[in-house]
Symmetry: D2
Subunit: 297 residues, 4 copies
């Protein structure tokens, strides 16, 4: 069993840390929120007064933070940054969803100090974090991937090796950009059918068994009444927030700008989600975009 430090115990990080405890690892945790820390300590983790003490003896350091600037600050701030306090030979796993450039910068500084690094953003949401069924998209060398895989398996079901440092982040933004397009396209198609007299369940069934089949139609249907146990069955509560999709689409657009890639559908999805968020729907599930195409509002 490994000695693991976990930094960042939010909605995702908290349950991920608990799954590590349950798997028998020695887990020390740190977060600015005392409450978040207390909840994980109850489950058997230990804690420290500061992040530096927390990571001192760890073989694996996992971070789950909101944005690139936090990741850069936590690891690279001169003197107080963890890069100067993690012991050489240990493994940093950053599961934050951030831009690939920051991941690569952190990887490079840590490498100079003999510390291994992978970017390992997740998909699967809070439900997957609690159930330990997350997908991890990992960027790092073959060796680094092999070393962190057993640890990630305590928190997830699918552990993908996407490529070198930063590749985990790229894979994540590609997937989530595509996901947003699937959701908008599925919503438009269902609304077009409804507006022309079709039944949403019947149409969903037909398209799911035809070439329109896709994740959002098949297992996360945005039209109320088609499926149970999805956000659309619950007034779009829970699930994956519009604000988070908008954030991921922002990262996708930055990635596209950097590589001068043309992504007309992804860019349109980004504008539609920004519009939807600005109309007061930021905290709803991202399948609520379905309502934007309702011609009977």
């Amino acid at each position: 069993m490994a000695n693991i430090a976990f930094i960042g115990l939010g909605n995702m990080g908290g349950p991920m840390a608990i799954n590590l405890v349950k798997a028998g690892h020695q887990v020390s945790v740190f977060d600015l929120s005392k409450e978040a820390v207390a909840h994980v300590v109850e489950q058997g983790a230990t804690t420290f007064d500061d992040a530096i003490s927390c990571v001192k003896g760890a073989e694996f350091i996992i971070s789950m933070l909101p944005a690139g600037k936090h990741v850069e600050a936590v690891y690279l701030t001169p003197s107080s940054g963890l890069a100067e306090h993690i012991k050489p030979g240990s493994h940093v796993i950053d599961s934050s969803t951030i831009d690939a450039k920051t991941s690569q910068k952190v990887a490079s500084v840590l490498a100079e100090k003999g510390i291994n690094f992978v970017d390992a953003p997740v998909s699967g949401g809070v439900g997957g974090a609690v159930a330990g069924t997350l997908s991890f998209m990992v960027g790092g060398s073959e060796e680094e991937f092999a070393q962190v895989k057993p640890i990630l398996e305590a928190m997830g079901k699918n552990i993908f090796h996407a490529g070198q440092h930063g590749a985990g982040q790229i894979a994540k933004v590609c997937n989530n950009m595509l996901l947003s397009v699937l959701m908008v396209g599925t919503s438009e198609a269902l609304q077009l059918g409804l507006a022309n007299g079709l039944d949403a369940k019947v149409l969903s069934n037909i398209m799911s068994k035809s070439s329109g089949s896709n994740w959002t139609l098949d297992v996360y249907n945005p039209c109320p009444g088609v499926m149970e146990n999805v956000p659309s069955a619950n007034d779009y509560q829970g699930g994956f927030m519009v604000d988070l999709m908008a954030k991921d689409l922002g990262l996708a657009m930055e990635t596209a700008l950097a590589s001068q890639s043309s992504t007309p559908m992804g860019a349109l999805a980004r504008s539609l989600y920004a519009m939807h968020a600005a109309s007061g729907n930021g905290a709803k599930d991202f399948s609520s975009i379905f309502n934007v195409f309702n011609h009977d509002k």
Copy 2:
């Protein structure tokens, strides 16, 4: 076994008629092309000098024609139209992909004469037509659906009841509009990954097992080298032509205009496919849209 007349023996209609022959039905066929007729007659169908003689004794009349104007002309032209020559009580199955309004108009005129009608457009392409694995999306009453289903099963695998007259057409355009969005979105996501150093096979595998999963990514991958036996492995030959996708997107836009529906992604896909066709790619498979987003052209 039934007595069936089949009008329209093109790339799709020909193999469909042959499958009816193979299933043991009595099939009489008609097409303006002698060559197309000869090919089906070789397999055991009979033929007549004109469409009217062809449908005279039939219990089921199946048509597979290019556009709404042909369907309207074949059935409704005064005196020479089949509506005045088909015997009451028989069943018309129009498998052409046309606008729902024309389907409804034909259904209504035939109903006045005691003739049953279903619109039953297909998906699955020439390959599905030959293999007898087409999907049929059927519009008509419950009773009409029940009566034609056994006949359709000789030509297809999935026989869907979409709703009343015209609903088959609506389901088809909804599905194909969604399909075009999936293809464009998948192409953008794969190209974005490639432009940022990812391997297309690795990225396809990750997204297929994640929330980016969709028909175009999973079984019809547009990136050369990822899959075998798909058009992208064969220089985009065969498959579903760009010109046909553009035609179906035209029908989708007309449907959206009629119901004042908002379909931003579908409309964007329509413009991109029109652009792609205008650049000389009309005869390629629709997955060739992948190249439009290649930043290294």
Copy 3:
């Protein structure tokens, strides 16, 4: 002075007919609304119990109707249609905004009877109709154009010859599609400036004097507080209704489909206006699309 029949006395047709009266023409009018008729008769027009009597002695027949189906019905309905009652050698001017195909069909039937025809849709709104400052976009032969021009000058300021029959309608949809793109683009640019701390008046002034200059920015600014005497200064009341813009964009899309033209911006504008109308803004001025891009809603 000419003998003119005027059919269709709505918001536009009423004031147009009155301007003809004021110019000294003999004007007989017809509309299904008694009230609309009475208002124009008060100004000096005469009226009849039916459209046929109204057009009997006229040298010029002007129609201003809501859609293509009304125009087709008024002129081409067997026996009751005006085509059979207008005297040969007279001039039909259809100022309705409809599809070019219907204009061409009516022109062709009238030509067979020796009746001249021009399509002459207008821009300029109710204000322009009242003030007699409309623009007319005329489709017809050089000779037909020359003959109707003096009549149109009683109702408008700019009389353009767009080309052959139907060309007036094409010019109108091209212009209005472009107008919608200008309005959306201007709204996005102003909102982007506002969201980043700029003053809307200052930014409008800069762009108006730079390469961003366009009609919607310069004389019909969508941002409240920048200009007086525009709909944005009056809670988007009056002006050119969202529903009418959505109708014109529908005609533009049908035109684009028929010629297989690619119009990604026009198609996006059409979806945005359909969305805006569906959110309950159909009766507001089309510059109210500005609010859709407000990030502080």
Copy 4:
């Protein structure tokens, strides 16, 4: 007359510096290209071996550099950056088109040292630079604006005060995003008219005098044969390059992401220009986007 240092003598900077010389100012220049320097020195400027010497005695320092990273490097690099060598009380005018954040950062560091700063990006292209008819969009305090205005008047015709530091950059990206939308929308409308039989000159004239009027239609028409002395009359040579428009749209998208603004048309224009550049048209004038919508290619 003022003592002015000018850093960056590219296609724009060179003629701008020459206009300052012609206006009678004392101009010292610096660029890494000896050739570029020699050309301006011929016209009466002086030069130095390094940028630091060049700015030492200057009251005004003007920079014209390709991107934000260059501006940041030139002014803020520790010890060799100009911020440590410009004399307090002098005025820095950065005419580079860069992100507003970098402008604000440079402004803030310079302010600490008692140096004034304005961001003053230009529009008008190489032609405007040579003719001294550029537009300047200036960000800075009222006082800073008043102080630099006389200097800018030697190089430009319209000197706009956009707002505080960074506002010049924001105004520029808003204008150029709008410009790209005008160009694409105008191109679509003209192509739609052409595809439906209209004459481009006739249609341009009609729309220019109607509500479709805009800068790209009226003075920079993208359709060959409509105007003389514009890039479309010269195979799209000269003018404002596609690659530069793509760069400016990238800045616009970054600005929109930062403020979470929704800009669907701007984002679509960005994708279309990225696509156009990737097809090998990066060095053509941006009006060449017209060809993308040609349905007869």
